[in-house]
Amino acid sequence: MNYLDSFRDKELVQGLARRIADLTSGRSKPLVFMEVCGTHTMAIYQFGLRSLLPPEVKLISGPGCPVCVTPNGYLDRAIAMSRLPDLIVTTFGDMLRVPGSSSSLMEERAMGADIRIVYSPLDAVQIAARNPGKRVVFLGVGFETTAPTIAGSILAAKAQGLANYFVLASHKTMPQPMAILSADPDLAVDGYICPAHVSAIIGADAYKPLCEEYKVPCVVTGFEPTDVMQGVEMLVRQAMAGESRVEIQYSRVVRWEGNAKAQAVLADVFTPFDAPWRGIGVLPGSGLRIADAYRAFDAELAIPVEVEELKEHTGCLCGEILKGKVAPFDCPLFAGKCTPESPVGACMVSSEGTCAAAYKYAR
């Protein structure tokens, strides 16, 4: 089966869109569904799905971009490390343009820092193995889809006996921020489009407490356009029937219990801690730092650096964007002072940033 083609079928997408229009036709108040995964943000824009949905259904973006929700201090520390001699910073492409307090990894690279984009953290381990005289730091940013792969890289480095591989970890976990959003009286979300691959790891059961406490429907949805439309359709039916259950749309991949092995690897290599989220504040147990048993791989401990004074950019509304309270077009800086070439905040240049998506696809 060609999965990419089958789940991008135009007829199915349009049929589902018509069904959603039929179900919601005539509603005075639109149903608002929030996605909390940057890949959903991008998929919805890339396929132009909003233009297929009726005005009675509104899709908004939440804190789904792990780079965007990471405060500037992390990037400032990474930049400080990149300025050290004999140190290679390895990172996913997503981080390169994100502005820290005064610089970005891209600019540091232009000034001579050894910063390399890798596709997999295992590639970073290989770079460490091939460069024994240098320290290699991998920037570990991401939710629970990515965190196990970084844990895997630490295990691989350990198995190879490498002493020069480090991870600067800034992982965040779901679904804690969703509870905060649901508890916010200003935010009226009628349902959550739950992330596809995070849920493959943590399991759909993870959303049950949120669902029960806040009586909000949660549908674990895939990233292909048919998946998103079917997920929205399932949310519409629940919302209109006053139901609040967790459902799995992306059942070909996601299980209720998730991936036990990946969860075990996470629990072994990482320890939860109270992490700061840009715009939201500190959420208990919402971050992952490297466990004591693996502290030899923790870049923050092993490579002390002086980090510049934190400067969050004034006027930047990334925090409000990430809570779904302000739309990109409503930010006074959008497409004026803040552009992908000259960004003020992370949302405009992270590859999954809400503002980046709006700028690229919806102007």
């Binding site: 079928d9 792990p66 792969t149 070909r252």
Partner: protein, 76 residues
């Protein structure tokens, strides 16, 4: 942080598999997979790791359900 591509396993050697999509091949680690995988299976590859198997039967059933949307009389 979730870009994951369905790729087909074309060979397995220990914890590593060679996977393929649209004729493009890349090696992937099976270290994080808690399911049995054999040649011919589809897996979701993220950042060089297989994170889950793809259930082909379920995929077909899902597509069927989506097609049923076309016959609103069945949905009532």
């Amino acid at each position: 942080m979730c870009v994951g591509v369905p790729m087909q396993v074309i060979s397995i050697e220990g914890d590593q598999a060679m996977t393929e999509v649209d004729g493009v091949k890349r090696e992937a680690s099976l270290m994080l997979l808690d399911q049995e995988v054999k040649v011919g299976d589809f897996v979701i590859i993220h950042a060089g790791f297989a994170i889950s198997k793809l259930d082909e039967e379920d995929a077909k059933a899902t597509l069927e359900m989506m097609r049923e949307i076309f016959t609103p009389e069945l949905m009532g």
